[in-house]
C-alpha cells in the first residue's frame, strides 16, 4: 500500500511544481517513400505520416486524461529529408518541407522534425540542395524543424558545412525577420547528433531506427528545484542523492506514459530522454536549480561545477528508472526558454563564453541565443566550430541554435512567446575569425575517435 506521504508528494509535483511529460514523439521512417518522381514521393510521405500518426494526438490526450499527467506536446520525427528526397532529382526541395508541414497539420501536431542532412564528412547532391533550401523552407512552413549534423568524433568537423551553416543561419534570420527570426528557432546545427532525440527542434528519425517508434521526453526542473531547496546547506553527497531520487521519480512517469502510448499505438517503445527541459514558466527553470544549489546568480563562478553535478545526478537517477534511456539526456540550457537564464543574462552574469563552458558538462549546446543582427556569418560559423570541437573531443552531443536578430543590438529582445520564450540579445566578440573559417575542408577526426 502507498503511504500518505508518497501520494501527497506525487500530487504536489504535478499541481505545484510543473511535473509534466514534455513530449511524446513518434519517429517514422520514410526510407520506403523515396523514388524518382518528386510528386509521387511526396504523396507517399504524406500518406505514411498521416496513416501512422493519425491517432497520436488522440492517444496522447487519452493518456493525459487517464493518468492526470499533462503531456505538453505530441510531435513527429522523420528520416532526414535529404536521404528521402535524394532520388527525386527534379523538382524543388522546399516542396518536401511543405508536404511535411501539411502532414503535421493534418494529424494535429505542432512540430515535425527531420528537414535534415547529415554532412559530418561531406555533402551529397541532395545534402547541398536541402541545406540551400533551409531559409525558404523555414519561412514558408510553420511546423517544420530542421537540423544539420556537421561533426562527429569519428569523422571530425566538416568546416565547409560549418561555414555554410553560418551563412544559412544569417539568411534564415533575414527571411523571417518580420517574425523576429523565428526560422532560426527551428534550425539546429549539431555535432554527434543522436538518432532518437524526441525534443525539437533537433529531432529526426535516425537511419538505424525501426519503421516506427515512440520516444518520450520528460521534464520537471520545477520538481528538482523544490527538492534541492529542501537540502539547503547540506553536503554535496546529500545534494547529489536528493537530485538522483527526484530524477528517478520523474523518469518513471516518462516510462509509464511512453510504454502506454507505444502499446496503444501498436508500435515499439524506443527511449525515454531524461533531459531537464525548462520552460519560460516561473519556477520551471534550470538556472533556478543551480541558484538553489547556492550559486547567487546563474553564470557566476561555480556555475559549471553545479551544472556538472546536476547533470550527472539526473542521469544516474534516470538511468535506473527506465529500461531504455536515450536521446540527448542531459540538462538543457536554452537562454530564451528559461526565465532564470534570461534574468542572469540581463544582470550580466551569464555570457556567451560562460554558456559555452557550461555546454562542456551538459547537453546540449548554445541554445536559443540571440546575437546582434550585424554579426558576420564567419563569426556565427566560428561559434558553431567551437561548439562542434567541444562535442567532437568530449564524445558528446553539442549543438548551436542561434538567432542573429536582424536590426537589433545588445540589450534589445527577440520575442516568440509560448515555449520558445524571449531572449535578450547578448554580445559576441568583435574580432574576426574569418581567415580561419574560410580555410575550407575538414578538421581531422581526433585521436579520441580512434577507438578500435
Amino acid at each position: 500500500m502507498l503511504t500518505l506521504q508518497e501520494i501527497m508528494e506525487t500530487i504536489k509535483m504535478v499541481q505545484e511544481e510543473n511535473l509534466d511529460i514534455r513530449t511524446i514523439t513518434m519517429g517514422i521512417s520514410l526510407r520506403d517513400c523515396a523514388g524518382p518522381d518528386s510528386r509521387q514521393t511526396r504523396t507517399k510521405i504524406y500518406d505514411k505520416i498521416t496513416r501512422l500518426a493519425g491517432q497520436l494526438v488522440k492517444t496522447g490526450e487519452q493518456i493525459e486524461r487517464e493518468y492526470g499527467l499533462p503531456i505538453v506536446n505530441k510531435r513527429i520525427s522523420v528520416t532526414p529529408m535529404a536521404l528521402v528526397a535524394e532520388s527525386s532529382v527534379k523538382g524543388d526541395m522546399v516542396d518536401f518541407a511543405r508536404t511535411m508541414d501539411d502532414a503535421a497539420a493534418a494529424v494535429g501536431v505542432n512540430f515535425i522534425g527531420g528537414y535534415s542532412a547529415l554532412v559530418h564528412k561531406g555533402f551529397t547532391g541532395a545534402d547541398h540542395r536541402l541545406i540551400d533550401s533551409i531559409p525558404e523552407a523555414l519561412d514558408v512552413t510553420t511546423r517544420v524543424c530542421s537540423s544539420v549534423n556537421v561533426a562527429t568524433t569519428h569523422a571530425g568537423i566538416n568546416m565547409d558545412a560549418v561555414y555554410r551553416m553560418g551563412q544559412i543561419i544569417k539568411k534564415t534570420a533575414e527571411r523571417t525577420a518580420d517574425r523576429d527570426g523565428l526560422g532560426c528557432a527551428k534550425l539546429v546545427v549539431f555535432a554527434n547528433v543522436p538518432e532518437d532525440n524526441p525534443f525539437m527542434a533537433g529531432a529526426f528519425h535516425g537511419i538505424g531506427e525501426p519503421e516506427c517508434v515512440i520516444n518520450v521526453g520528460v521534464s520537471g526542473p520545477g520538481v528538482v528545484k523544490k527538492a534541492v531547496e529542501t537540502v539547503k546547506g547540506a553536503g554535496f553527497g546529500v545534494l547529489a542523492e536528493t537530485i538522483k531520487k527526484t530524477a528517478f521519480k520523474i523518469t518513471r512517469m516518462g516510462e509509464l506514459v511512453g510504454r502506454t502510448a507505444a502499446e496503444r499505438l501498436g508500435v515499439p517503445f524506443g527511449i525515454v530522454d531524461i533531459s531537464l527541459a525548462p520552460t519560460p514558466a516561473i519556477g520551471d527553470s534550470v538556472a533556478e536549480i543551480l541558484e538553489a544549489m547556492g550559486i547567487e546568480i546563474c553564470g557566476t563562478h561555480g556555475t559549471t561545477a553545479a551544472l556538472a553535478l546536476l547533470n550527472d545526478a539526473v542521469k544516474k537517477g534516470g538511468a535506473m528508472a527506465s529500461s531504455y534511456v536515450g536521446g540527448l539526456s542531459g540538462a538543457f540550457i536554452p537562454l530564451s526558454e528559461d526565465a532564470g537564464m534570461i534574468r542572469a543574462a540581463e544582470a550580466g552574469a551569464l555570457s556567451l563564453e560562460k554558456l559555452e563552458a557550461m555546454t562542456c558538462v551538459c547537453s546540449v549546446g548554445l541554445d536559443m541565443i540571440a546575437v546582434p543582427g550585424d554579426t558576420p556569418a564567419e563569426t556565427i560559423a566560428a561559434i558553431i566550430a567551437d561548439e562542434a570541437a567541444i562535442g567532437m573531443i568530449n564524445k558528446k552531443t553539442t549543438a548551436v541554435r542561434m538567432i542573429p536578430a536582424v536590426g537589433k543590438k545588445v540589450g534589445d529582445y527577440v520575442e516568440y512567446g509560448g515555449l520558445l520564450g524571449r531572449a535578450p540579445v547578448i554580445p559576441v566578440k568583435p574580432f574576426s575569425p574569418a581567415d580561419f573559417v574560410r580555410r575550407g575542408g575538414r578538421i581531422p577526426a581526433p585521436i579520441q575517435g580512434l577507438t578500435n
Binding site: 508518497e6 501527497m8 506525487t10 504535478v14 493518468y67 492526470g68 521519480k249 516510462e255 502499446e263
Partner: protein, 101 residues
C-alpha cells in the same frame, strides 16, 4: 513488461482522490456524494491533520463508472470550490510507477 508492472496488485480501475484544505463539516460527505453519483466505489479512506490542514486520501474503483477521469476531476474540483478545499483525482498507476519498483 508494462502489463506485468501494472498487474501487481492492480484491481479494477483504481483512482486516488486527495483532499487538502481547512477542515470543516461535510467534506467526506461531499466527496463521497460526488463519487457515488458517478458510480464510483470507495475502497479505502485515510486522513490526517497536518498543522491545521485536513489531508484526506481515498482509494476508489472507477471500473463501474460511466465518467472518465477528466470529467471526475472537474466535478471534484467544483465540489472542492464549494467546500473551500482542493480536491484532485489521479490514476493509481501513476503513484505505483513513481514509488514502487
Amino acid at each position: 513488461m508494462l502489463a506485468e508492472l501494472k498487474k501487481t496488485e492492480s484491481k479494477g480501475n483504481r483512482v486516488i482522490v486527495t483532499v487538502v484544505g481547512p477542515d470543516c463539516v461535510g467534506i467526506i460527505a461531499g466527496v463521497a456524494q460526488v463519487l457515488a453519483s458517478n458510480g464510483i466505489n470507495i475502497l479505502d479512506i485515510s486522513q490526517t491533520i497536518l498543522q491545521e490542514f485536513l489531508v484526506m486520501v481515498m482509494v476508489a474503483d472507477m471500473s463501474g463508472s460511466p465518467a472518465d477521469l477528466t470529467t471526475l476531476k472537474e466535478r471534484l474540483a467544483a465540489k472542492g470550490l464549494e467546500l473551500g478545499v482542493r480536491i484532485d483525482a489521479q490514476h493509481e498507476d501513476v503513484f505505483k510507477f513513481m514509488h514502487r519498483i
